[in-house]
Amino acid sequence: MTIFDLEHFSSDHFALFGLPRRQALDELDLERMYREIQTKVHPDKHAHLADAEKRLAMQWATKVNEAYLTLKSPLKRAEYVLKLLGHDPQIERNTAMPADFLMQQMELREAVVECRAGGDGGALDRMHRQMKKEMAGQHQALVVALDEQKDYARGAEIVRQLMFQEKLLHEIDEALQAVEA
């Protein structure tokens, strides 16, 4: 299909929603544009039309969902901004982290295992909240590093840390689920 070559289809996620290419994001704006564009392209809006349009609608809606998902998550958005600017955060190769950060992560991970074994849902819930708070701080730091200071090395470092933190949050949630079951 030639459709993927069309100018709009290949445009970057920010351009797709008519949003400025930066880390700081007005979530309401993204929400609004996502809905507006999805309302135009979604397969349900073309269900009674010809096959070609239905297929096209699915491709467009898929692309719009992908763009929305990428921009909505501060971590994914930062990775994407770095990629657009030509700065590979080197997630796979660069595993250097500040020692105190790594220490803290390891301690937290042990605590999760303990709480899970001990069935301590309350403590896990507190850890979940604490983790969310720390990540919100990191999200702020990303805006400062990428938009204001244009310090992309620093931005990449925060991205790598956030990946650790997301994984840990996921483990906390899994543990919570196991405790509740």
């Binding site: 299909m1 030639t2 459709i3 069309l6 100018e7 709009h8 289809f9 929603f17 008519g18 949003l19 400025p20 290419r21 930066r22 704006d29 544009m33 809905r35 507006e36 564009i37 999805q38 309302t39 135009k40 392209v41 979604h42 397969p43 349900d44 809006k45 269900a47 009674h48 039309l49 010809a50 096959d51 070609a52 349009e53 096209l56 609608a57 699915m58 467009w60 809606a61 898929t62 969902n65 992908e66 929305y68 998902l69 949630d173 919570l176 689920q177 509740e180 079951a181």
Partner: protein
């Protein structure tokens, strides 16, 4: 059909303006069909005015098949040939089905999905469900006075790909054109949202006969966005009946009972459960074939006690769905109750306590799913009234992934991703010179492949010889708006490709469905050929209307030459469509579809650009 059909005034006069579309709630215990009439969603009742069709099918020794109340009446007489709750078997193997030992059927464990031996031969759950759907189709066509353009069929949000595919197969077998598979809680939300003009976060708690679903939705400005969904596809009102049944056996100290007595006691158990909704205690009386008498009283307290763990079991997925959505119970503005089983007071109380508010019960929990499906079917069929426009953004309930070395699952699309969605991942070879790769597609949340559901296996061959780890195989998962998956694997260097529409290994192939249709199964009186021809003609008419409407709106997007080509293709289709050469019609439709592909792309582009143009210029500046 013996009776002449007279349609309602104004219904059949303009068939191309109002397309006949229905919503079908294919339930574990009961099924319903609904439509939108004069702008209002209504459930279509049978000739005796009964809205529900019990999801029961009886296969008679003389070859007659009965569906609904008639079949239900035969339950205790001929349990082996009377299938109830067939939905529990859809896309399921023997090992997946709870309490299979206390069921009166003669199972045949064919690969993947069980089958049932009846006096009319071996029946798959897909065929049995198709019998129920065909009964509803016939009811709808009689009531609406014409052939249906299409139907929206609801499925539990927590149904996996195998169960969805089985449902779609059943609908096709019943002669229905499926406009969309719609998640039951989402259908309920549509029925509520449009009636009440609701905005905000809503939870839909759907406890049906055999399945439990919880969905968290955000409603705003005509967009229904499902944020998260969860549930248990093997938990429902039937399990409460089963608890009561076990309690009866225990209290009455009965030795193993015959299939006939088991069915009788199951019925008594269900009746007692229903009685307790409005009363403090329920009498249970039965005379067994052994001449034993059962005479018991079940109080609400005892019922609450024996069903406590079941009630709790629904709250786990509820918490999980809220967490997936990043929300707390207090963020939820309203809790919509769906499914007959939510009538149980202990369910109402548990849900009310958890969310800290009275659940919403103002629509009939048995009908709300069918009504929502009808509203969506009406929209999808193109019967759109001004201002009557909304969009549904649904999600996949379970993560989709691939098997990697060591029997581990690599998730490719995480659960609760908004559909349609596509995701690609690269894999590589394990051995030097490896020329083929076996790909195993699975669904589920667990790390080990053996704990997930296997959806499909396929092979990519013709990988050029390379050292281990050098080949780049890009695997792309695409989930469409029905939640159904297709997978493509492509070797990046040679461009060699393998592709599969994920039909679970036991799903029916197109050929099998075609063969079954040809056998006249499920509409024996229909002439299969004429029906297929008629469908092609309707389809061709729809296509021409769609193209003409597009031309009317956006003709300037085409050059004179392009326009002439499209016009020629339309003329060609018009010339053959009223004839009886099905192949010529298909060919002409294909030609027109190809001729309009580029036009469609330009139209789509234009509408997206218009959406962007609606933005204030200053907002675009960074």
């Amino acid at each position: 059909m013996a009776l002449l059909q007279i349609s309602e005034p104004g219904q059949s006069a303009a068939p191309h303006e109002h397309r006949l579309a229905v919503g079908i709630d294919l339930g574990t215990t009961n099924s319903l069909v609904a439509t939108v009439r004069s702008g209002l969603a209504v459930v279509l009742s049978d000739e005796m005015g009964r809205p529900l069709l019990p999801s029961v099918v009886h296969y008679g020794a003389e070859g007659a098949t009965e569906v609904g109340y008639g079949a239900q009446a035969r339950q205790s007489v001929d349990p082996r040939n009377t299938v109830v709750s067939v939905k529990r078997f859809m896309g399921r193997g023997r090992a997946d089905i709870a309490h299979i030992e206390s069921m009166p059927y003669d199972f045949e464990d064919s690969p993947g999905m069980v089958k049932l031996r009846t006096v009319q031969g071996v029946k798959s759950p897909v065929e049995i469900s198709a019998d129920i759907l065909a009964a509803l189709r016939i009811r709808a066509e009689a009531a609406l006075g014409g052939q249906l353009t299409g139907a929206v069929i609801t499925v539990p949000a927590y149904f996996d790909d195998a169960q969805r595919q089985a449902t779609k197969d059943a609908a096709r077998l019943a002669g229905l054109n499926v406009l969309r598979l719609l998640n039951e809680p989402t259908a309920a939300a549509i029925a509520y949202g449009l009636d009440n003009g609701a905005e905000g976060i809503y939870a839909v708690y759907d406890l049906g006969g055999g399945t439990f679903d919880i969905s968290i939705l955000k409603l705003s400005k005509g967009v229904f966005q499902v944020l998260a969904t969860g549930g248990d596809s093997a938990l429902g009102g039937d399990d409460f009946d089963h608890r009561v049944f076990c309690w009866i056996i225990e209290q009455a100290k009965l030795t193993p009972v015959s299939p006939h007595d088991a069915r009788l006691l199951q019925t008594r158990a269900r009746e007692a459960k229903e009685y307790l909704t409005l009363h403090g205690e329920a009498p249970i009386n039965a005379k067994l074939s052994t001449n034993e008498f059962v005479d018991l009283k079940l109080t609400s307290e005892v019922f609450n006690e024996i069903s406590k763990t079941l009630v709790q079991k629904t709250l786990g997925p509820t918490r999980k769905a809220l967490r997936d959505a990043g929300l707390a119970p207090e963020d939820v503005k309203g809790v919509v109750m769906v499914g007959g089983a939510t009538r149980m007071p202990q369910i109402q109380k548990a849900v009310g306590d958890y969310f800290g508010q009275q659940p919403l019960n103002n629509l009939d929990p048995d009908k709300v799913v069918a009504l929502g499906a009808a509203i969506q079917a009406n929209l999808l069929a193109g019967n759109r009234a001004a201002g009557d426009d909304w969009l549904l953004l649904d999600v996949i309930p379970l993560s989709l992934g691939m098997e990697t070395m060591g029997g581990l699952t690599e998730k490719i699309i995480p659960r609760n991703s908004t559909i349609p969605v596509a995701r690609a991942q690269e894999f590589t070879t394990f051995k030097d010179g490896q020329s083929a790769m076996a790909l195993h597609v699975v669904q589920g949340e667990r790390e080990l492949v053996s704990d997930c559901r296997s959806l499909a296996r396929f092979e990519l061959r013709g990988i050029p010889p390379m050292v281990a780890g050098a080949a780049r195989i890009r695997v792309t998962f695409q989930v469409d708006a029905d939640g159904l998956l297709s997978v493509t694997a492509r070797e990046q260097i040679t461009g060699h490709e393998a592709r599969i529409e994920v039909k679970p290994s036991y799903g029916l192939t197109d050929d099998e469905v075609a063969a079954m249709l040809k056998d006249g199964f499920s509409h024996a009186s229909d002439d299969a050929f004429r029906r297929a021809l008629r469908e092609a003609q309707v389809e061709a008419q729809r296509l021409i209307e769609a193209v003409q409407s597009a031309l009317k709106d956006d003709a300037p997007l085409l050059s004179t030459l392009e326009r002439a080509h499209i016009d020629a293709c339309v003329a060609k289709l018009q010339a053959v469509m009223m004839g009886d050469d099905r192949r010529a019609i298909d060919g002409a439709m294909d030609g027109l579809n190809k001729a309009t592909a580029e036009f469609a792309a330009r139209r789509m582009n234009q509408s997206v650009q218009r959406a962007l143009a609606g933005k204030n210029v200053s907002e675009l500046e960074s």
